[in-house]
Symmetry: C2
Subunit: 170 residues, 2 copies
Amino acid sequence: MPPPVRGVALDQNQARLAIRHIPDRPGMAARIFRLLADQKVSVDMIIQSQRCRIVDGVTTRDIAFTVAAIDAETARTALINAATDLGCGEITVDAEIAKVSIVGSGMVNQPGVAARMFAALAQNQINIQMIATSEIKISSVVAKDQGVQALQAIHAAFGLSGAEKIQVST
Amino acid sequence: MPPPVRGVALDQNQARLAIRHIPDRPGMAARIFRLLADQKVSVDMIIQSQRCRIVDGVTTRDIAFTVAAIDAETARTALINAATDLGCGEITVDAEIAKVSIVGSGMVNQPGVAARMFAALAQNQINIQMIATSEIKISSVVAKDQGVQALQAIHAAFGLSGAEKIQVST
Ligand SMILES: C[C@@H](O)[C@H](N)C(=O)O
Ligand SMILES: C[C@@H](O)[C@H](N)C(=O)O
């Protein structure tokens, strides 16, 4: 069995946007991401959780996503201009984030890989702000000033030697 | 440039759990996923959005995740037993879901790929309940009874011929 985790990556070059209270009906996500695509904004992580909230009698959900820090302002302006049209609430931006990820095949089938990553962050008092996963990657968003510490903690927790790829984009 | 999307996958074998009002401090995610790992529950998607809520003066966040449908009850019981210890709120389970995903390399750099997937769902009046992405995969959770329709709509939207892999696990 190859080790489940092949490497750790850190991206300190992202900003997170969140759109609150999007009416929860078909088509809303399509309009939002089409709007961003038309502005040539590449979106990295998109996270929409299952939680709904009723606002003025309408069921709504939040969508959060990360972009390259240089695109944050373009994305924010485009969304603010469309907020009334979309019928959604507040648009928030946070550039003080870092994304730290572990990559490897077969992680999902080995319960405990995610727990080990999260425990490495916990032992270093690093709070997890967002989580998104796929079969071969687990990403966490942490405070920007804890990015390097998060990378080192996870690297040590999985016993990765110098050989594994560490990607840091600053 | 290879087409950004190589294939579409549908998994109708999952259940979604959500844990509400988890105290937002380091270590909570580690405890939750260690608990599930100890029960040999493999977790597929994990989604924690940035949204915080203040409950009884404590900042909290929700975490949602999907598991194989056969593991849902084990996961729910383990979490309910630990809820007081963890200091979190309600645990909800929904087995009436399907996960539909597009896979391909270089999707993130092509801004309109996500918009196209979401538009295909919108045109078929399919509501998106959750979204999680990575560089090579965009997954959406939809109602279980719309899973096959979602797969077909996305397949058509990306002009995938019979040659591309469609993975359906039922
Ligand atoms: C909130 C948003 O995702 C909506 N449910 C949609 O399908 O577009
Ligand atoms: C909510 C949970 O993710 C918490 N922030 C932690 O770091 O564990």
